[in-house]
Symmetry: C2
Subunit: 339 residues, 2 copies
């Protein structure tokens, strides 16, 4: 089969790789229907997190089960499946409390931007989608559940977004925009999207943003406070991971408010004075996608939400190098790839 391999900075290649096969009886092999490029992978693509050897790339997918190991019982060949960007056993104490991203037996895949993918612990990782699942118009929405929609949702859950509250979203990538949608679904009244790009502002509005703030840093914080009785938002979703964005998020929350952080942190430190002395909390991390699928999947299948709108460019998987370049240069919010 063919798949994407990262060789180093700005160097992604589509090349022949070994076909995956069942190694463990709990495995499944999935034939990829769609995969995509993640903003979090740009840290490695840009060489900020260096790559020391050629590495199969990608961690988001939807597809059709091709083959299962003898211990796999919840999915079977021919079924359309969605899975999270990390695999999880589903049975350890951590999975049992709904924290599959920290599964004691979990881990990452060997590159999902490929024609076939081996999924360890298929029962604890995959969710089979019945009925309309493979309708072409739903593929993008389903694929978004594999990471960005669930990650935006995790930001909102971690920040304690509830009915009627005010939310500021730092970051206008696919995760930030999904965070806007998550805040809307959870009933937030004021939803402030921080974005300076017109096409992203437009999608933020479509997803439920009530206000757009183009300013960043101190000016951005002041603008958020102006919209929130002068004190800051009840909840802030941090969807970038830089020092500037984390600082901005903490200072945009009101006393007693909470920041949900999901941007992979590339920071020197957390300024404790932005937290303790302002009574601002910080929670979140890597999203337990598998825990959220049962709640979000029906919304997608009923078309109540269309999170797949974050995909504004579609390319054949063989053009994966172009897909990374488009994301890197901000020509695309998120690129969907089909084998």
């Amino acid at each position: 089969m063919f798949g994407a391999v990262l060789y180093g900075k700005d160097d992604v290649r589509y090349e022949e790789r070994e076909d995956p096969r069942i190694i463990d009886p709990a495995d499944a092999i999935v034939r990829t229907v769609a995969t995509c490029v993640c903003g979090s992978d740009l840290w490695r693509y840009r060489g900020i997190n260096p790559t020391d050897r050629p590495s199969p790339f990608g961690h988001e997918y939807v597809g059709i089960v091709e083959e299962v190991g003898r211990e796999t019982t919840t999915v079977s060949p021919g079924q359309f499946v969605v899975g999270g960007f990390l695999y999880s056993c589903g049975t350890c104490a951590t999975c049992r409390v709904g924290q599959q991203a920290n599964c004691e037996n979990g881990g990452g895949y060997d590159g999902c931007q490929a024609e076939y993918i081996r999924i360890p612990y298929a029962d604890g990782t995959l969710v089979a989608v019945e009925e309309t699942s493979t309708d072409d118009d739903l593929i993008a929405d389903l694929l978004s559940l594999s990471d960005v929609m669930c990650t935006g949702w995790h930001a909102a859950v971690s920040a304690g977004v509830t009915e009627g509250c005010s939310v500021a979203v730092v970051g206008d990538g696919a995760v930030g925009l999904s965070g806007v949608l998550a805040a809307k679904i959870r009933g937030a009244e004021t939803i402030i999207a921080m974005s300076k790009y017109p096409e992203r502002q437009a999608l933020a509005r479509e997803f439920g943003a009530t206000h757009i703030i183009a300013e960043r840093g101190d000016a951005g914080i002041a603008a958020v406070r102006e919209l929130t009785n002068g004190i800051g938002a009840d909840a802030v979703l941090e969807c970038v991971g830089t020092q500037t964005s984390v600082d901005q998020a903490l200072q945009s929350a009101r006393p007693g408010g909470r920041v949900g952080w999901v941007g992979l942190p590339h920071i020197d430190g957390i300024n404790q004075s932005h937290m303790f002395w302002r009574n601002v909390g910080l929670a979140g991390g890597v999203a337990p996608v598998r825990a959220y699928l049962p709640e979000l999947l029906p919304m997608v299948l009923s078309r109540a939400i269309r999170p797949g709108k974050v995909f504004d460019l579609r390319l054949p998987l063989s053009d994966v190098a172009d897909a990374y370049a488009a994301m890197d240069e901000r020509r695309a919010i998120k690129v969907l790839l089909t084998p």
Copy 2:
């Protein structure tokens, strides 16, 4: 009148001070019935936070209203009152969301270990206690509401303690012990008190601790995990404020769990890898006592809870220097002082 003044390291004096008087029409003057020494004041008493000039000391009190300014309407002379360790206006946007500790017009008192205290914004700060209020046996319980009980409660609220959850409490001072009681009131099922002192362990048990762990650091973390399915507690209350205790608290929480921190932080930094990569949240800060009084006061008045048990030494206010020494040397958990 006489009151306590901190001159420097290990140097607290009981000396004559000017009588407080109404300065602002929103003020009240309170005649102290009881006051006490706070663990947080030991940072300055021990010289860790240096004192640059003689400073009136103390921030906890219950007393009788002596006089009120012409704008004060909710309390009147002769009433027994409880107030928080910070004053708050009660009307700003921050107070209105229940975050009085961060009141935009709030601040600290000019020394509560004194015979009389001036309370700014009396309406936004004090709660009048009717009926049995001045029963001698309730004084200690009511006084605990001025800080430690509400601070322990804030730790539990910030850590998200709810019915049936597991809680670990780091710190066995008056706040930590109050945190144990708060966890019990909120319905926690497993309550782990981390303490190596027999008399504190005994009070922790009385307040609701189901388990005691004497170990600290890595051994303490391992012991907490052993009691919580190997993964850590749902909620951890950090009631000390040192680097060791904050690190220990973060590592004692399970993935998806939360630490409520209320110990005044004297730390170099927050280890982000204990947070993001383990999906552990951190929330809390200075407790909004005034927000919690309406809920906790009835429990005290009905004697459903006896948080005043943290006071294990009573001295006349004139012996305030001995009170600090006793706390500093751990001869007392908390010292109650009466003028």
